[in-house]
Amino acid sequence: MGAIYRREMGAFFTSGIAYVFLAGFALFSGLFFSLGVIGSGVSDMSPMFSSMFIIVLFLIPILTMKLLSEEKKNRTDQGLLTAPVSLASIVLGKYFAALTLFIIAESIVFIYSIIIALCGEVVWSTLLGNYFAMLFLGAAFIAIGLFVSSLTENQMASAVIGMFVLFVLYLMDSLAANIPVEFIQKALLSISFYSRYVEFTRGVFDLSSIVFFLSTAVLFNFFSVRVLDKRRWG
């Protein structure tokens, strides 16, 4: 797992994906920070975090698009799958590499907190609550993106499908609002990432949502392993 993790970290930077991702994250979070936080004169960064949901949704598939699809296309998966490592460690090595980059990007909020600290007071409990909520959201989205990447050989297709899937998940709330059947509403809302995430930005730290994000991450990593395994049996 360590070898794959290190290689993917290196590949993020040599391929330039890391720069695109970090720049995109910095640009939009900076925008929302200056407009939503500094501009409105509050010291609470929650508005920025809630706006970042949609940005993360589009940025994460860029991060994950190549991870498994490129391997298949360039036949480098033959090197990995015939090496004495388990399928799970291949998937997790890649997963944690992407998650690490996400954490690096997200940690830019600590620079913002310094800016706030200069002219006001930082409420650390809400900031950390938001920070970890976004971390868990990213953990779930990266697993989904990685899974999509395992399904195709084309990285662009992987990115587009990934964005589409995440966007559909984002639309769950408005979809639920338009379907006046109670149990369908309930079902749709129960897989809504947005409503769960927004709760955190309002200062509600809900353990069940954390469990939801983490189990999504585990589930989709498991699916990715199954896809790799299934390909061997094809």
Partner: protein, 378 residues
């Protein structure tokens, strides 16, 4: 070292590999030979655990590849048909990655240096793999397979894309490696297999068509005496040709006569096939004495590996069941013969020639016998 038992791989209705069994001992270099699409790569991919088998068992060093894949894989170094290289890495970075991936315990610096020296890539270690030529990429692929010094090396067409001098280098390297490793190597280039391997398995349409040393295979399959005779007739015209052909055909034991090209003015060569049990050379000599013809040359033609390969892959020898399948086997093959394009054509057209239809039928019967014998041995 490697034991394969009744291995099959099915893709939908198509059987890519059909019930093959063989074993390879320690320090043996085994050549896997077959036309494109015969199932070589599929078999190798199964041996290395890249794909799984539909049925059957593979033991690497006594470990079942499906039961304990990690342990089994740690005994294998694999160079696939397309080397699994990350083109955005340097050679050094890549080899270090593979070193980590294989959880190698040998001293990193010394081990990698040794491998790079062996594969002659020491001077490109700092370069990006993207910028290397195909030959160098192939060598990096080979170097990667050698990391952690695995007892079994599986090389899928290791010399593809190399120039002649590199091919010779890689071959001698493989021979060298064969002293301490068990090597399985696939190729569709016959001289290569002949030059490097102790033992050859010819695989065609997913089944093993022949297994043994080049000599053994030749012995097994040479079931007719073939020779070329140059006979000088009395008139030195093409009328000779017909007369001599007819006279030769009348000799007891000769199954097939074909007048070949005019080698000298008015003198022709005759390709003759005779029954195994009967030596027809004396009869030919007697005939010529009676008719006052002169034998200018008599050459027995040994079967080369190429002849054998052509015979097997053109459907003459394999356990091809129906006539239809046989025809499709004849029609469908593209065989990449580097040197002997012409020879190939001749052999194929010879096989289709209606004159020896009988002969090939006989062969087929014999084969069925011999294959059933083989089955009994197992």
């Amino acid at each position: 070292m490697i034991e394969v038992k009744n291995l099959s791989k099915r893709y939908g209705d198509k059987k890519a590999v059909n019930d093959i069994s063989f074993s390879v001992g320690k320090g043996e270099i085994l050549g896997f030979l077959g036309p494109n699409g015969a199932g070589k790569s599929t078999t190798m991919n199964m041996l290395t655990g890249y794909i799984s088998s539909t049925s059957g068992q593979i033991l690497i060093n006594g470990v079942d590849i499906l039961e304990d894949p990690i342990e089994a894989k740690s005994n294998i170094g694999y160079l696939p048909e397309i080397p699994p290289l990350y083109v955005d890495m340097t050679v050094d970075g890549y080899l270090n990655f593979m070193y980590d991936l294989k959880k190698c315990k040998l001293t990193r610096k010394a081990h990698l240096k040794e491998i790079c020296d062996l594969c002659k890539i020491s001077h490109v270690r700092e370069r990006l793999i993207r910028n290397l030529s195909k030959g160098y990429k192939q060598r990096v692929g080979l170097a990667q397979a050698l990391i952690n010094n695995p007892p079994v090396l599986i090389l899928d067409e290791p010399t593809v894309g190399l120039d002649p001098s590199q091919i010779i280098e890689i071959r001698s390297l493989i021979k060298k490696l064969g002293k301490n490793h068990t090597v399985i190597l696939s190729s569709h280039i016959l001289p290569e297999i002949q030059a490097v391997c102790d033992r050859i398995i010819i695989i065609n349409k997913g089944v093993i068509a022949a297994d043994g040393t080049a000599g053994e295979i030749a012995d097994k399959l040479t079931n007719e005496h073939k020779m070329t005779v140059r006979i000088e007739g009395s008139t030195h015209t093409s009328a000779d040709k017909k007369e001599i052909t007819d006279a030769l055909k009348a000799i007891d034991g000769i199954k097939y006569v074909r007048a070949d090209m005019e080698r000298e003015k008015g003198i022709y060569d005759y390709d003759i096939e005779s029954d195994e049990e009967i030596d027809v050379r004396r009869a030919i000599n007697t005939l010529c004495r009676e008719k006052d013809w002169n034998i200018l040359m008599l050459q027995l033609s040994d079967m080369t590996l190429e002849d054998i390969f052509m015979k097997i892959t053109s459907g003459d020898i394999t356990a091809v069941k129906s006539e239809d399948e046989k025809k499709s086997a004849l029609a469908g093959y593209e065989i990449d013969f580097e040197k002997s394009g012409q020879k190939t054509e001749e052999a194929v057209s010879g096989g289709e020639n209606s004159a020896d239809g009988e002969a090939s039928e006989k062969n087929e019967k014999k084969d069925k016998k011999s294959s059933s014998k083989k089955g009994g041995d197992k």
